[in-house]
């Protein structure tokens, strides 16, 4: 009984100092280094990340209405609380080869002031911070995604997409007049 008590006092003390140290380190780090916040997701067995500031929401894909006469990367449209959002497959947009059969159960809605669309993902893993200095420029051969759409890759091979670039890319916009 007593032993337990002293033990817990020790524990408390240890935890306290540890917490202090950690807090200190965190503060120092933050002061020294910049980090970005990412939504991390799986797509065709690869891990990708996009900056949270471009993510409006993550939406489960239950129904999808395909549209005729659209390029293959446009999978269709969905209803997000009364608003129509188009859903695209970035694998097809980047001409990546189809790898296996994947679930594609989640839509990550990307947006900025000018543009909005949903990107399909298999699994959304969560939100995490990555230190800017840990991001290395990516070799295009690594994922097959052209360099211009990449912000870089982390040591654990998390591929960071350049959401700003994707959102502002004219190739993404479908504008087709009827051929006459």
């Amino acid at each position: 009984m007593e032993r337990d008590w002293t033990h817990s006092v020790d524990k408390k003390a240890i935890l306290k100092t540890r917490a202090k140290a950690l807090a200190q380190e965190q503060k120092d780090r933050e002061a020294l280094e910049e980090s970005i916040e990412l939504v991390e997701f799986l797509l065709a067995y690869e891990r990708y990340g996009v900056e949270t500031c471009y993510v409006r929401e993550v939406y489960p894909l239950k129904e999808l209405t395909p549209l005729p006469c659209t390029p293959p990367f446009v999978l269709g449209i969905i209803n997000v609380r009364g608003r129509i959002v188009s859903v695209i497959d970035i694998k097809k947009f980047f001409d990546l080869p189809d790898k296996g059969l994947t679930d594609l159960n989640k839509v990550i809605v990307l947006h900025d002031s000018e543009m909005e669309f949903g990107v399909l993902a298999d699994v959304v893993l969560g939100v995490r911070s990555v230190l800017v200095k840990e991001i290395q420029p990516s070799l295009p051969t690594l994922t097959g995604i052209r360099e211009q759409y990449l912000k870089g890759v982390t040591a654990e091979r998390l591929v960071i997409l350049d959401a700003e670039r994707l959102l502002s890319d004219n190739k993404m916009v479908v504008h087709e007049e009827a051929a006459s």
Partner: protein, 756 residues
Amino acid sequence: MAKKDNGFLKKLLATFKVEAEEHLKTISLGLVELEKTLPPEKQLEIVETIFRETHSLKGAARAVSMTDIESVCQALENIFAAWQRGGAIPSAGLLDSLHQTVDVLEKILSSPEAEETAEHKSKMAALIRRLQGGAREPGIRNQGTAAEQGVSTAEPQFLSSGPQPQIPTLGDTVRIPRAKLDRVLLQAEEFLSAKLTASQRAADLRQITTLVGDWEKAWAKFRRSGFGMGPVELENRQSLIRNSQSREFLEWNDHTVTSIEEKLAGISKSAELDRRMLGRMVDDLLAEMKSLSMLPISSVLEILPRFVRELSRDQEKEVDLVIQGGEIEIDRRILEEIKDPLIHLVRNCIDHGIEKPEERKQNGKRLRGTITIALSQKNGSKVELIISDDGRGVDVPKVRSAALRLGLIPDDAPALSDQEALSLIFQTGVSTSAFITDISGRGLGLAIVREKVGKLGGMVSVETKPDAGTAFQLTLPVTLATFRGTLVRVNDRVFVMPTTFVERVTRIKKKEIRTVENRETIPLDGQVLPLVQLSDALQFSRKNTTDDSRDTALLVILGSAEKRIAFLVDDLLNEQEVLVKTLGKQLSRVQHVAAATVLGTGQVVPVLNVFDLMKSAARATVASVKPPIQPEKEAKKKSILVVEDSITARTLLKNILESAGYHVAAAVDGVDGYTQLRSSEFDLVVSDVDMPRMNGFDLTAKIRSDKKFAGLPVVLVTALESREDRERGIDVGANAYIVKSSFDQSNLLEVIGRLI
């Protein structure tokens, strides 16, 4: 504090801008009026009006300390005051410089900051100098000298009756920014989806009530037959006891079901009442919102007098513009859409219609041409707008040859009547103009006019008489009618066709379809109409699974302007109100799809673009509506059930299997899959493993435990790659196990081919 002041000033400036624009518009209209030959009293009346307007503008400018505008207004006032006193008719030259003054003021006001930049200042200083000169100069024909007197001191006479009120009063009208109104309008329209959902719910409940009714009938029948028990069993004493227990239970059951039924009937009834109430409320709200956005047509016509004046002067023509019926009210959004077409038509009148004075003289016409815009209310929902000129008329033979040159009519086509030939001017590229100017001649304008008017649900037609003039007749809706859509199905997909363009829906025998010049046609009311398969127009791949053994074809006849085309669809579902939504920013324009809508069930459905459809139908390859082939293959076709919770994977699997010639049904999870297995016959099951409610292993086990499905092959397709999982799959009785990461369609088809 300074910041706050700044914000306040900005607000003031914004209000000033709106106010100033209105004053300037009235002044400009007045100046145009003054150019006409009018009786002196009428002239004085106009001068009085523009004088007042200028004075109000001056006051407003002073309030926001736009001193230069204030002094320009002062100079204008001086001139108008001189006119008033002199009862004079101003000269054309002076009127021109007055117009320019108004122009400059408008420009300054429309610049983003609306501030008086150095450039503006110098411009205005020049204007003031010129205007001061103008007040003295020959501007006044009758009593030139009278003007001198009031140059610096002139304050309008009516000032004595008290200063113009500059403070906004709490009157009967309020000024609301358009953006705010539009937002409210959009929100009100969203209520339509609440109405649609309510009727969907009411229908669902009605359906459940019917189901319960059916059950009750079956139950009553079963009961009458003595619970399916023969007399022999009843003799058995033990079973009698058990029977009495079950009787008790059945009694209780009866009571429960009856009370559920009563409750259900109650809910169904109130859902129906809710639906009706909500429906009426939403309809009333929308009607009121619509009336809020009604504006007199004159509000768009106001720009025309000056436009006509300037354009005709540039072309050395003399044109009067007469507007009749401008007070008729029309939805603001329609007015906005119709503005450009109107300007285009008026421009056409000046460009192509009205002749130069010399030519008119030769033809014995009045030197000044006249363009008339006459509006009349046709009935509660339509307005007719006729834009006519007394010019030379459209050269019909020229139109004909232009159309021939463009290949719009085949060389050997039977001679078109004049009216038919004339309507060709609405076709892209047809222009009678020999040369192209910056404003016209490219032959696009009228095509755009027709498309715009058509989009609004209106019509446009034209009449012409050589040397007597041309009249364009536009029929427009008064309000944006609630969009009604016809729901059709083609290739298992649902689409909405705007009902305004659906002329009719009809069913014809397939053998009536004839190919003429490589195109399929159908006879309808003694006319021959081109026939296009909607699935071809939408570029769907032909389904090789022809389950269409019907010998009739369902057609939707779409018509816009003078074109009519029959579209073949698989099924007609409904005709209803729909709330149109844009496709989002990424899909800025999609061929054949104009928008989307959400049905009461929550299903998202594309709304088709009729103009695109008509356009692409014209070049569609020859479709082949096959006569019903006797389905000998049909019997051999194997049937597969796909069980998969992910919609993308489900669709992909379904497509792969269908294109391989299988008949495919899909289920969203194990429970759904098992239910479907029990209700229809399948030759094979393809199932995912990780699913809600009942996973693939459990489904396989359940299938294996049922004698009925002993021989039914099961293929598991899964993301689980471990050996244990594979073993578990085999343990529960799956015939094949395909790992998703290495999935490709050939190995799936090969596996299936081996199993069935």
